[in-house]
Symmetry: C2
Subunit: 576 residues, 2 copies
Amino acid sequence: MKLDRLLGLRFKETPSDCQIASHILMLRGGYIKNVGNGIFSLYPPAKRIAQKIERIIREEMDAIGGQEVMLPVAIPAALWKESGRWDAVGSELVRFKDRGGSDMVLGMTHEEAVVHLCRDTAQSYQNFPFMVYQIQTKFRDEPRARGGLIRVREFTMKDAYSFHTSFGDLAEFYEKCHAAYVNIFRRCGIGDDVVDVQADSGMMGGKIAHEFMLLAEIGEDSLAICGACDFRSNMEAAECITENAPCEDAPLTKISTPGIKTIEALCEFCTVSPARTCKAVLYQKNSTGEYVVIFIRGDLEVNETKLNNLLGGEAHPAADAAEAFPCGFIGPVGLKLPKGAVVLYDRSLRNAGELVTGACEEGYHYRGFNPDRDVPGIEYSEIAKIPEGGICPQCGKHSIRLVRGIEVGHIFQLGAKYTESMNMTYLDQNGKPQYPVMGCYGIGVGRLMASVCEARRDGYGPIWPMNIAPWQAQICALRSQDEEVAKTADKLYEDLQSAGVEVLYDDRKVSAGVMFSDADLLGVPVRVIVSPKTLQRGVAELKTRDKAIQKDLDISVVTQEIIALVKEMMNEGDQS
Amino acid sequence: MKLDRLLGLRFKETPSDCQIASHILMLRGGYIKNVGNGIFSLYPPAKRIAQKIERIIREEMDAIGGQEVMLPVAIPAALWKESGRWDAVGSELVRFKDRGGSDMVLGMTHEEAVVHLCRDTAQSYQNFPFMVYQIQTKFRDEPRARGGLIRVREFTMKDAYSFHTSFGDLAEFYEKCHAAYVNIFRRCGIGDDVVDVQADSGMMGGKIAHEFMLLAEIGEDSLAICGACDFRSNMEAAECITENAPCEDAPLTKISTPGIKTIEALCEFCTVSPARTCKAVLYQKNSTGEYVVIFIRGDLEVNETKLNNLLGGEAHPAADAAEAFPCGFIGPVGLKLPKGAVVLYDRSLRNAGELVTGACEEGYHYRGFNPDRDVPGIEYSEIAKIPEGGICPQCGKHSIRLVRGIEVGHIFQLGAKYTESMNMTYLDQNGKPQYPVMGCYGIGVGRLMASVCEARRDGYGPIWPMNIAPWQAQICALRSQDEEVAKTADKLYEDLQSAGVEVLYDDRKVSAGVMFSDADLLGVPVRVIVSPKTLQRGVAELKTRDKAIQKDLDISVVTQEIIALVKEMMNEGDQS
């Protein structure tokens, strides 16, 4: 490809409204164009990268027995009504009516469609296990699209679905798929930066789920990682274990705390630590607006994912509850609840005592609150976020670090949620109908591309790993009006192409500065510079985009050296 | 791939509601599954064929300088409002609102999106020409989805768009793309059955357009093909040239024709041929319901495409016009028109005379009608369908044959319709802004697959050409419980796979009848049969699906012979 024919502009200026490096670089490098909120077109370099990522994914899915299929983007709502998700999923699911008035959805995930595809074809236990996958466009009407290709509404996704006759068989395949995912991220060049963590299964159903997370400051997810053992979890899914210091059986005593409305102020006023307080956090159910009062130790925060799972629906922090509650002074004792309100107690209050908490009266708190003693029949739930320095649920040490990550893959053990609701059965050895159990396995192609860009870049542009780079080598012919330069570079271009190397050839009559900054933005791993100066020395200059190699190559050997280097870097990428 | 692991069932029964062979065979062979009206999922064999077709398309598009991009499926309506098609296109365009209340459409064609992608990047005449393409899912809310993958609502399409600084340059590239299309159909194995015809450009805009048509009885399109020259046109787009026999200047005479309401009855009653009558055909505009009265020679039919183009919008045959018109007796003389109604005269009435036509009075017609004389200021339009045996617009002979075809590709010279409406400009040599002109070029991948199935099949299943076959070779191991059979077939499977041959291996313990009928349905071009009988003879049996080859191969050479045959058939397919 001649660079002067390449569709897309490259520029220096940081586009407005961009916070994330990959977003900035992929706009500045002519990779993507924003079409609407969370909707992008891909220019040729991004399309080429996406195709290479897709090829790697296909190879890894095929290697574990995957069969590629194609499911529809526009799906009759009847299938989503069968599974119950037509009602259960919110406005991120696009619904429309077709010209005949039938309800339709845009597929944001394809459990329903894949069960529809498979339910008549796998009739005997002998047909199991099997896995199918597709690489297809999805639309998810995200409320907060952001960060270029990191969080979009329309995206290309590989989604795979496996079917099994037992949870044991599912677990076994799940491990295989887990290993294939590790291969995929390694081959895409970010193997060292991606960790797997336990995950919440959210609206998908099922119990066991893992996310693959690219560790990155700009990540939207918080991860709880143990420094002492191999425990790693999305903070959403991590159990929060707490200990309470031993305490006296102090009596419940009302104290005057005029104007003391925050935990900080309360702690200062009473000279206690936040862990010796019991605070109230107010939510409202999205569906009904009914209040949810959560009592939790003052040093901890509410984990909204756990809260939603507990409630079986979404809730949001209550914005203005002053009419319903004595805000700032809410406590478990003497609390009057508005109609429909629910009270939840976090497990952190168990075995706690000598707590300061609200007295449900403007200007008053209690000292000496002991939940087990003072709230008859109290039931505890697990609603707290695991904190930095918290207790590892696996090894029990105070060794939890919180870091941020970008989810680049997600795998789920779904169980029989969809096969039961959609009545997919097979006959077991005894001729009895059974529901198969399912796993599902997703990777967003565009997000993976942007994540590699996040992880592999410098201040000048992306540093694409050889295996997914838009081109393998770039020739920069400086001063191509010089006949010798043009002749040498043209020949190199031809020879490399003949040898099957994917070459981007820049022979524009532009300055070295423009040429190199464009090359940096395009991030091609191997660069060869031909100029009057290098030719005077009888050489071309070889530079890798990652700066690992920079040396002169004798013109007589340049073609074969580049071919060898590209091959070597391809192999390294596949095996590293 | 082992056949017993392959997802999808094969069966004998003809599914109900299927008229078309490809639809029947692709259901019976486990290629496709209907998800909803005009919406299909693809099982692995169909997905594999689709991918091979896509690879051929990519190679041919790349060979003429195409750059692959990716445009969105869900497109902000703002772009379609810019081009004017938000209003101009009917309910085949799916419209929906996103969660933020913005109007969106599902892309059924991508002129708007591609102009959006390119309009800032090609600023100088030096950036032209260029062509971009994508292979992407489209949704078109067809009123009459039918025939399996022949006419669907959701489909995978290759759509390409070229941009030029002159019509001359566009025409030149158009020819290149035309040639690339010829290559594509040839490489997909239907080169001999596809013809290109002049086409109507419909809602796309532009003047010059061609369709590539697979000649097939079940085709939805009628083609006008000259037996005497190389004129070929979609009937929709073909000019209808008529001659009228010389006539006397007979006076206009009212005659009593009680109960004579059809042209047939009228001709019999008056003993004239239909070509000596002037009939009225009634339509109504879709948008307003206003009547359109078309007067046309009695032996000709109305070409609705021409009518719609003439009206600048769609119209449908008037169902019940008895209140507005003296139906059966309508004629140009004395006609009273309801409000808003329009009258059109087809060119076939020019220079005609001595016609019989309605007298606008129940039970009466006129004889001796002469349009040029009796209708002051008459203006003629061209609204007639070219008839079988009609006059070729190119060579002038009465040599038009009407045949049927399936549209497998469509190319358009669009002109500046979209660049003007969406304000895409470049600076010409003189620094003056200009609108580039565009071409667009489409191929539906699924329809092409089904068309190949239509054209290449026998009573037992598809006969896939080697280049797009789901697998290249199939091993049928009959009586694989026989140790020698299993050993030989297993080894053959391994050896062929190692050599890079795509093998489907059937070692199920089923009868020869089941095994062969499944193989016929899967249509793999090369079949090798290993059984106790063949092994007794020291051979495996080679059969090609098209029955061209059937012979024994010594076990010692079977692997290399199959490898050679597959290679030969691949090359033939590429070059034929």
